[in-house]
Structures are given as C-alpha cells and as structure tokens.
C-alpha cells in the first residue's frame, strides 16, 4: 500500500493507518547488509522475513517478566507495587500499553491466572468476575490485534476458572489463550473446562508442558501464534524458508539435500544474524528501553526463530511422479523426516549471534503462512482436504513431525457441535496426544464465529464486514480474510461423530 493510499483508505481505522505509515517510513531506509544471492532468494520467494521491515528497531516478540513487574512496580511508569486486585489489574493494563513488538501491540500478556490469583484473597467470585470482565474487555478493545496471547495454568485456580467462564460469555478474539497443560499438575476437571470452553470461543488452545518445559533454562511463555519463547526475553526475528519453493529449485532429491537446502538455509541464517546484529548493536533498543533497565527483559534471553512452511508440498514435489503423498505414505513421511533432520542439523551447527540462552543456535519454528501462500501448507501440517480419515493417524503424524520444533508448532482441529455434550471425549484425545508428544493442539466448534486462522483468532462476522469494505476494530481481521481462504480453513476436516 502506498502512503497516500493508506492515508485515504476508508477501510482502515486511524490506528491501523498510523501503524502502516510507521512501517512505510521504516522501509524508506536501507540499513541491512544483504548479499545478492540472498536478495535473489527473496525475489524467488524461497525465503522471506514476513515483512518485518527494513530497519528493525525492536525485537519481533517480547515476553516481559510480569511477575517481577507486579512485585517491584516500575520507576519509569511511576507505579508502586500493587497492593490489591484493582491496582494489579490497572498496573498490568498500563504496562501492556508499553510493550513493543512487530505488531506494535504486546504479543504476550503473561500467565494471567498465576499473575492475578495472589490479589484475589477476600474478593468474592462475583466481584472478581466483574473486574476480570472489565479487564478482558479493555484488552479486547484496545489491543486490536489477535497475535496478542495470554497463558493459563498449568495449576487450576479460581481466577483461571473465572477467566474460562468469561471467555465463553464474551466471545473475544483477543487475547489468544493457551492452557499450559501438565498432566501431573493440571486437574482433569480444569482441562475439561478449558476444552469445553474452546468449543464455544476457540480459546484456549493446549500446550504440552511436558515436552516444552525443557526448552529454556529461564522458563517459557506462549506468545503471538503459539510461539514458545523465553520468559523475560523473546524472539529477535523470524524468517522462514518456503520449503516447497526450495524443492522446486532442486533437480533431484540428492540435489535438494546436497546443494539447494544448505545454500538456502545459510542465506537465511546469515540474513537473520544481520537483523539481530542491527537490533542489538545499532537500533539502541536494549540500551534505552525501560523494560531492560528495570530487569523485565534481558538481552541475553532472546532467540532467533528459524521458520519454515510447506514440508508437505516440498515432500510431494520431491516425490513427483511416484504418487506418494505426505501424511499418507511411509516413504513420503520418511523423506519428510529427513528434511526435518536436515533443518535440525543445520540450526545445530550454524552460529547464531547474541543467543547465549540457546548456546548460540537458532530455534526451529513451524511457521503458519501468509495470505499469499497459495498451495503451501503451514509448518508440518497435512494439507487441508488430505487429512487422514482417522484422527488418531493425524495426531500420531503431528507427534512425529512436531518433535524437533522447539519454538512453536501446532495443528488445528474443528470439532462437531455434539462434542459440547461430551467434553470428556476431548480430554481423552488431548491426553492421548500429550502422551505421544504432540506439542500443541487447538480446537474450535465447526460453526463457531471465532475461528482460528493459522494460529490467531478472527471472527467470521468481522471478516464479512471487512469484505464489505467496512473498517473493523481488529487489525488481524484484514490478514484473516485472505489467509482463511488460502488455507482453506472452512474445508478443514471436522472431527467427531
């Protein structure tokens, strides 16, 4: 969109215009050193940086240590440590306003139940519900971008239960919610309540704590589109390789592994290092942000997210002519696993700048796509329309291919409405999946107004408004309109009987 086009648009809100104009301004300067070969891969759309901008002036994703903030208050924000529920909720809302990210909105709001629960002693259920309703409504109406994510659990708390009740009632797209599920800690009852809730408002999704908890020594949060990132840090940058297009550059399977993939991955990794170098050394972010000065984030807790999409199509392209399909034939899945091993091996060896937390390595991320990714399936998912007949096969496949993805992957399962009558069945499915090592699962009810596009939530009714060229509150509705169509979201296999 050109600058004047942004200014004159009648389907953008004022806030959306300001953000797009900021992006346009950023893109007028060229500060990154990008070699010719890399530019060529960008032009061929083999790799891209998800439009992160030409001069990064903040890390892509930031996960402040909200617990520390509540304990200490903030000198910069002139806030004393909160003493009661009102002060705690108010303090959080104030800090959210000041947490930068690639979207300009906070992508991580913290573990809401654990943060708020200590302030609820002596507060009645009714009163707590009213205050949380206002808190959540403020978030939904002012953080107008559903890449914003909050966490619940793993422990069951009164605050957690009331938030789930409110979610069913409020039908908010923001924040995206994840229940951190630990079979040792989370009660079956709380898991069931969470899954039941997801059949009314597509929230929360389920994160398998058992397989994710060892990712970082400092703990993790789930941010934006289910990115598993270090607490008190975050993600510097996220670039991605479109494996399907890389496969098209290869003349054979051997050529893909020996020549194409190493070259493409090296180009992308060097590009990511260049972005990280600029953020850390030149942007001044870590030298000036009060979040750093007050110990809410630490520059040594950020990681580079090494994204990829279209494992399914890459596999199918490399096996063209054999009729073997990803997700169905053992030979195809074995080849796909070889690609995963190659990605893992690459990030294990390539030195990532300023990433001490991960031993100087990038972290694999199953990216979920952009709205112009026609015919390219997110991450390691099986393409829509080709899902195995039996849900057990799809979940086993997810467990196998999510194994090496440390910093975010998921699959989405629309459920028949009847599932609401038997949420225990959802508990059984999730427990089985967690047992097998599935890292992250998301459900929604087939006719739900709130639908999960790729990782974020959008309302079908809002998309309809946007299609009719009306301005809509949530920024992400714009992305959702195309992405839901491109991802064939409406054609996903509905599970249940």
């Amino acid at each position: 969109m050109g600058v004047l086009e942004i200014i004159k648009s009648q389907s953008l809100t004022y806030e959306q215009k300001v953000n797009l104009l900021a992006q346009a301004a950023e893109n007028t300067v060229q500060v990154l050193n990008v070699p010719e070969r890399t530019r060529q891969y960008f032009a061929q759309k083999v790799i891209d940086d998800l439009g992160e901008g030409a001069a990064p002036y903040r890390p892509r994703y930031i996960l402040p240590d909200y617990k520390r903030f509540l304990e200490n208050g903030s000198e910069f924000l002139q806030l004393n440590p909160p003493q009661d529920l009102d002060e705690a909720l108010n303090a959080l809302l104030i800090l959210y306003r000041h947490v930068p990210s690639i979207t300009t909105f906070p992508v991580y709001l913290g573990s809401l139940d654990e943060l708020i629960e200590p302030y609820t002693e002596g507060v009645s259920d009714e009163e707590l519900k009213k205050k949380l309703r206002l808190f959540l409504t403020y978030i939904d109406r002012t953080i107008t971008d559903s890449f914003c994510h909050a966490n619940l659990g793993p422990r069951e708390t009164r605050t957690g239960r009331i938030i789930l009740e409110l979610e069913r009632e409020l039908q908010h797209a923001v924040p995206n919610l994840t229940l951190i599920y630990d079979p040792e800690v989370t009660s079956d009852d709380f898991l069931q309540e969470a899954l039941y809730t997801s059949l009314f408002c597509a929230n929360p999704a389920i994160c398998n704590h058992v397989v994710n908890r060892g990712t970082y020594s400092v703990g993790y949060g789930v941010a934006s589109c289910y990115n598993v990132l270090p607490l008190g840090g975050g993600g510097f940058t996220l670039s991605r390789v479109i494996l399907a297009r890389a496969a098209r550059l290869a003349t054979s399977i051997d050529d893909f592994f020996e020549r194409v993939l190493p070259d493409v991955l090296t180009a992308m990794a060097e590009y990511m290092n260049e972005r990280i170098r600029f953020i850390v050394e030149e942007s001044g972010f870590f030298a000036s942000s009060f979040l750093v000065n007050e110990g809410l984030i630490h520059s040594d807790r950020f990681v580079g997210m090494f994204g990829f999409v279209g494992l399914a199509e890459a596999t199918n392209i490399l096996l063209e002519g054999t009729g073997k399909r990803y997700g169905h034939d053992p030979e195809a899945d074995d080849l796909a696993e070889r690609i995963m091993m190659a990605l893992d091996e690459f990030v294990d060896k390539f030195p990532a700048l300023y990433s001490p937390l991960t031993g100087g390595r990038f972290m694999l991320h199953a990216q979920v796509g952009l709205s112009d990714d026609v015919g390219i399936t997110p991450g390691v998912r099986i393409p829509v329309g080709e899902e195995p007949e039996n849900l057990a096969d799809q979940l086993r496949h997810a467990a196998r291919f999510q194994r090496l993805i440390t910093t975010g992957c998921s699959d989405i399962y629309p459920m028949e409405t009847t599932a609401r009558n038997n949420p225990q069945a959802m508990v059984d499915i999730v427990k089985g999946a967690v047992d097998l090592g599935v890292r992250y699962l998301a459900f929604y009810e087939e006719n739900s107004d709130l639908v999960r596009i790729t990782g974020y939530l959008v309302k079908r009714s809002e998309m309809e408004k946007y299609r009719n060229e009306q301005a809509v509150l949530q920024n992400t509705t714009r992305f959702g309109v195309d992405a839901f169509a491109v991802n064939k979201g409406a054609e996903r296999k509905v599970r249940g009987v």
Partner: protein, 278 residues
Amino acid sequence: MTSAPINRIIPHSLVDGPGNRTAIFLQGCNLRCLYCHNPETQQLCRHCGLCVPECPAGALRMVGEQVVWDEARCAGCDTCISLCPHSSSPKVKYMTAAEVFAAVEGNIPFIRGLTVSGGECTLYPGFLTELFRLAQAQGLSCLLDTNGMVELAQFPALMDVCDGVMLDVKAWDVEVHSALTGSGNEPVKRNLRFLAEAGKIAELRVVCLPGEVDAEAVIQGIKDTIGSQVSRIRLKLIKFRKYGVRGRLAESESPAEEYMQALKAQAEALGFQDVVIR
C-alpha cells in the same frame, strides 16, 4: 474365535458413552422399531442381489449365490441401502473378535474404551465376550448399547468383562412397546432389575415421541423397579428425530422442548439426579 457381522466401526465417537470411544455397530436386530434411525442394520443380507446392478460405482457383484462388496471401489453413496427391501445392507463384513480388536487398537491412547451397538449387539454374546476380554486386557472400558430383549443374566462370562450397559427402555406398557417395536417388553424389565442389582447400568435411555411412546410411564416404571438407584444413574431423554426413519413416522415432528422439560422435571421429582435431554 467367533465371528459377527459388522456394519461399521467408528474409530472416534463422541456420542456413544462417556469420553472418546471406538463404536462398533453389529448387524441384525430382534426389534422393528417404528422410529429406527438406522433401519439398514435390522436384518442380515439375504443375497437377493437386487442392489447389485444399481451400484453406480460397480462395487457389488454376485459370486455364486452371494452378494460380494468391494470396499475399495465403494463410493459410500448408500444407493444399495436405500434400495434394499429387507432393511439390510450388502456392506457388512464378518469379522472375528481379534480382527475387530485390531481395528480398535490403533485408536489407543486416544480412546478410553469401546462401545458395541447395533443392530442389537447382544445377539452375539460369544463374540462380545471375546472382544471385551481383549479390550479389557489393554485397559479399555467396554460398554454395551442394547434394547434389552436378550436376557443378560444368561451370560455371566459376558457380564464379567462388561463395564456397563446403556439400556433402552422404549416403552413401559406392553401394548405400547409391542405397537412400537413389534415385541413385548418383559425381558427389558427383567434386564433392568438384573443390571441394577449387578451395578452395571451405565445409562438408561428413552426416545420420546408423545402418542407413540409412554415416556411418563417409563420414567415411573424405572423408579418403581430400581428404587433409590435412580439417583446414581444417568437418564437420557432423547427427542425423536425423523432422520433416517422409514415408514409411518418418517415425517413426524420432534417433540416440543416444553414436553421434554416436563419429562425431565418428572424424573427429577422421582429422584433422578442426572437427567439429560438430547
């Protein structure tokens, strides 16, 4: 090992008992309910061959005197079922308990158990006993879904490996039951008493359709038979729905929500504590 005619196996069913379960539907029934919503499960195939030339996918053929179904070719259009004058289906496979269990096993660990339904599954007690033994050995719970016309007290070995029975009580007055199903209901009442004493009732169900079903009498009759046990047993009041129904009730409307609520209130007044309307 004993074989049984299998109409269908649903790997993950959300509607056949608590939790996620694999549901197995056996072919053949000893009742002819007017409101049956899967009448094609009532009878075994007579191999008359009427469906064979009508199959658009060419998935049916006569081999000697037998209709043979080619599963790989079948498009699942159900033309054969809609044409069958005998309330049957050519798409039924005879499978041993081990073969059926092999199909169930792949769904572990996502299921908590299996439910066998029909048709009328208790027509095959030997098969059920073998299947449940295999399933229980893998930690799966095993439920029967039955019309109660086969006296389960006759099969102690089956009862030993059965975790619970979901029992239909279709009508209470013998005349009403007979008009609705073609048979009297003395075995159902004896099963109700027997299963209650054995602590094996997983759920009681009544399909409700005023004028055809004496649901009020069913609820009262259950209370009179099993007494205070009603407080511990789920009662499912199912609205009649016309989908799949053939014959006189094919166009009948579902009962009103007020009627269902009144039945629920009646049951709760009698001491039922878990009454659901579906």
